[in-house]
Subunit: 335 residues, 2 copies
Amino acid sequence: MVTTAPRAWASAPRIYVENVRGRDPAYNVSAEAILRSLHSVCRPAELTCCFSDERNLEALRRADILVAGRLDTEVIRSDARDLKLIQCTSAGVENYAPFNWLLPTTALTNASGVHAAKVGEFGLMAALMLHERVPLIATNQRFHSWKRQLRGVAAGRRALIYGVGALGGAVAERLHSAGFHVSGIRRNGRQHAAVDHMTTPDCFHNELAQADILILACPLTPETRGIMGERAFAAMPKGASLLNIARAGVIDHAALVSSLVSGHLSGAILDVFEKEPLPANAPLWDVPNLMVFPHVSADAPDGYVDRCLAILADNLERASSGRPLRNTIDPQLGY
Amino acid sequence: MVTTAPRAWASAPRIYVENVRGRDPAYNVSAEAILRSLHSVCRPAELTCCFSDERNLEALRRADILVAGRLDTEVIRSDARDLKLIQCTSAGVENYAPFNWLLPTTALTNASGVHAAKVGEFGLMAALMLHERVPLIATNQRFHSWKRQLRGVAAGRRALIYGVGALGGAVAERLHSAGFHVSGIRRNGRQHAAVDHMTTPDCFHNELAQADILILACPLTPETRGIMGERAFAAMPKGASLLNIARAGVIDHAALVSSLVSGHLSGAILDVFEKEPLPANAPLWDVPNLMVFPHVSADAPDGYVDRCLAILADNLERASSGRPLRNTIDPQLGY
């Protein structure tokens, strides 16, 4: 949490926006969107919008605020030394660690929470699918194989959510409403209204043994990299299943594939991959009882930018009145 | 609705149970299950449990109550003329129409409602999947094709449920809770708490034009056979999708396939087929953006028989006190 004294720049900031060419236009931040979103909190002294391949270095050097879909940390360190605030339009910032490029005078904020409604729905859908054995049914369909396996109701089944932040919390709320028993793991162990049973990462393997469905929704950090390896899969009960909406690096994919092929794990839904798009020759496409989703769990096409800029507007108000900013990244924790 | 005068047979009935050999044991009605379910409402004067291939014709001739997974209507007409009540353990009875084999002194009841919790969850899952374009994503996976198409939240989308009975009503409740706009079509047009907008079958094509997701949950009758033909699919907006948890006969499958192949319909989930298991050489297995489910939408493995027999117990109480039975089939309407 970054606390700021009331700051003059927040009422008339120099704003520099850099979009990523070729990315879905739903993510592009236009000058109009900035003016519309911020009109009640500030009047920009300067506003520059461009793509990163047509960078306006002079404007970036002068800027108080950078809004960007991808951060060029080298250039920020060398040239953008007056930045007070960097608003990243994605939730994950693991690609920018370690954060030694970030000046102590610059706050870095992410888009965490922008995805809540969408990811909550996606998480509920995926949990119901895993319960119903849809990955198995889809694999059977490829082989024209009708295998009927009746499943009881999902309500009452045990879901374990690793990472109860903005994404995991939104999923927890939908699963809780749908009648799942929801367990959660978060670093600080803080309770959550939608989580029946919260523990900390040191209890992970004990909790895995109780889980029907594991949902990975944590940031990728040195602590979470590879947490789902051979031992972790073996700790889950036979017939358990997995949803990954975090980052690919939290899973040892060779161990996942073994567990699916052996039938220990009944199914998996992956929405994140080391390399995206997943290459056409990647073996994951054909793993039995595994469904490949093209990274769609959290992003809605409508209003994404507006919801990001609402975080920025809120933070400008906070900065103006000297209150702590929200959505700040802790350079030590990495999220 | 069959109204009965208080009947002595209901307190000491002769009960004959016929199971179908080879069917999932979850559907088999045992003598223990009968005694457990009915112990508070009656003490059977006689109880026979057998498979249909070892029929005890003498016991059937004497019986007041027949409980059966499949009805041999010829034998019932010729031999079981003392039956007061036939409890069918499935919800659909379309295979027994026309009902001229049924004596006016025999009430026929089905298992409608037994499936509510399970089918409600399944309907919600399938509606979220259709909204998220999962049938398309699953087809793309077969071809190792990563095509990202961001979808907004499902809440607010328009679901149209054809047939708001026990199945359709349970689905309506879950969709309504999840924030869908729910329209319904039922023959009598009666309102339903979970349906925002109820109409009758004559409005079907008008309603189709407004539907993002169509859910077929009606009985198969002469009126509903083939309702989804070429004209009906064309009446739906481009990008709409379909779930069938009714009976295969309500759809003209050639028209469905055309609509999917042309891209007019964005996806379909079918849980019911003319012939089940769907034969390995059936073309439906490979239709793009179509998911084949092995008839699992409504049946839970646990407690199915107990929930069926709870209907019978309730009806025996009703018969004892002269109240109308529930779950009765109207021979004219066919459901």
